[in-house]
Amino acid sequence: MGEAIVITSGKGGVGKTTTTANVGTSLALLGKKVCLIDTDIGLRNLDVAMGLENRIIYDLVDVIEGRCKINQALVKDKRFDGLLYLLPAAQTSDKTAVKPKQMKALVNELKQDYDYVIIDCPAGIEQGYRNAVAGADKAIVVTTPEKTAVRDADRIIGLLEKEEGVEPPKLVINRIRSHMVHNGDMLDIDEITSHLSIDLIGIVVDDDSVIKAANQGEPIALDPNNKASIAYRNIARRILGESIPLNPLETQQIGVFSKIKKMFGVR
């Protein structure tokens, strides 16, 4: 019996889909059987970020409405040997096509076969959010070091805390720009964590290659040397229960370290 993790943020554009894609990929790299669910019905993206767009035949709404079996709708990621699957959202319906109860039943069914079911939540706090959270056991809140994103994260955390059956959410701070934090132009990590007062599970630096990778349909987590990739892999390892210290500059230090290793020709 696996566990379901919902990835949410309240605000749009902070990196929910990117985080879902990369955490899912990282978990699969670590040998876990993972199923990603895109619940952003009407505005699906996760398939694009994963590079699986062309292979969608059936979708979430088809499964819910009984037009196909779950296994028919699941898109297998061929880069992994049967470890990573995607259940895409429908593009032609809207969020009201699914009810929280149905989502819960679906997630429970998937949890039988997969170690991790990662649910990508749409922005907002309406029906789409309620659907995404319905079946989740755990929650990860993604925010960026911007006041607007932190406000919305605060709101979402309040809602998640009220949700029954969901463990206290964990926080991912995405798109940190160390030079801006250093100059005091960006909220720093301590400020965000003391404000939101939930446990931090990862810090991801802002990196151009994340966008490039998403455009190519190759999650950045597949690149072993990228700063952001290492951050996502660390999040996955923390989900598995490993204790990896949270250093605001962890990604950079590891980056330097791997550069030295490279110099000596060690990989």
Partner: protein
Amino acid sequence: MINNRSLQNVMIKGTKDGLTLHLDDSCSIQNIIEELKGKLSTSFKRQGDELQTPVNLHTGNRKFSPEVEKTIISTIHSHSKLVVEKVLSNVLTIEECNQRIYDNEVKKIVGIVRSGQVLEAHGDVLLIGDINPGGEIKAAGNVFVIGTVRGVVHAGCEGNREAVFAASKIIAAQISIADVHTTINATELEDSTMQYCAYINEQNEIELDRLNVLKHLRPKLTRLEGGL
């Protein structure tokens, strides 16, 4: 003894607060009514257009139903010049008791009032945690926060102008007491590390002051049994 008892179902006592009719709580209602008729028509007989005398009714360790209470009061009114002002009793109904607890309750909450959450209370609120931006506390009584305030606080929201608000740290807040509103920024405070309290001053404005003035401003806030 028996004789004496039957005569003493109704006792009339005069104190400096006025007259009180003490009704024995172990006899039947019929007895009380009979005795009231007899006693009152002799000692408090209505004479012409004489002024009516106010009286309190004390029912001892017994609580009458509203109907019985009405009968007794109308008996008194029709047989004497007395007017019942208050009905007293040593007994509280569970309802009244709960109402009192409810009104005087200090709601204690451990946690964070986050954006979009509104915490409402009929008495005082003691929050052990922060109020984040967009979070709100609304209380009919006082509001105390052990934590940082960045949100909205409304003390005395049902019109109690004596209500106060106190917090261990205020960074940015919108404070209302009864119908007076103000906004506060940490930059406006002399010392943001100090603990502040807010109250309505004589100019009808919300004033922010050091916590130790509260004791003199609102002595009733202290509810200490025994002594220090």
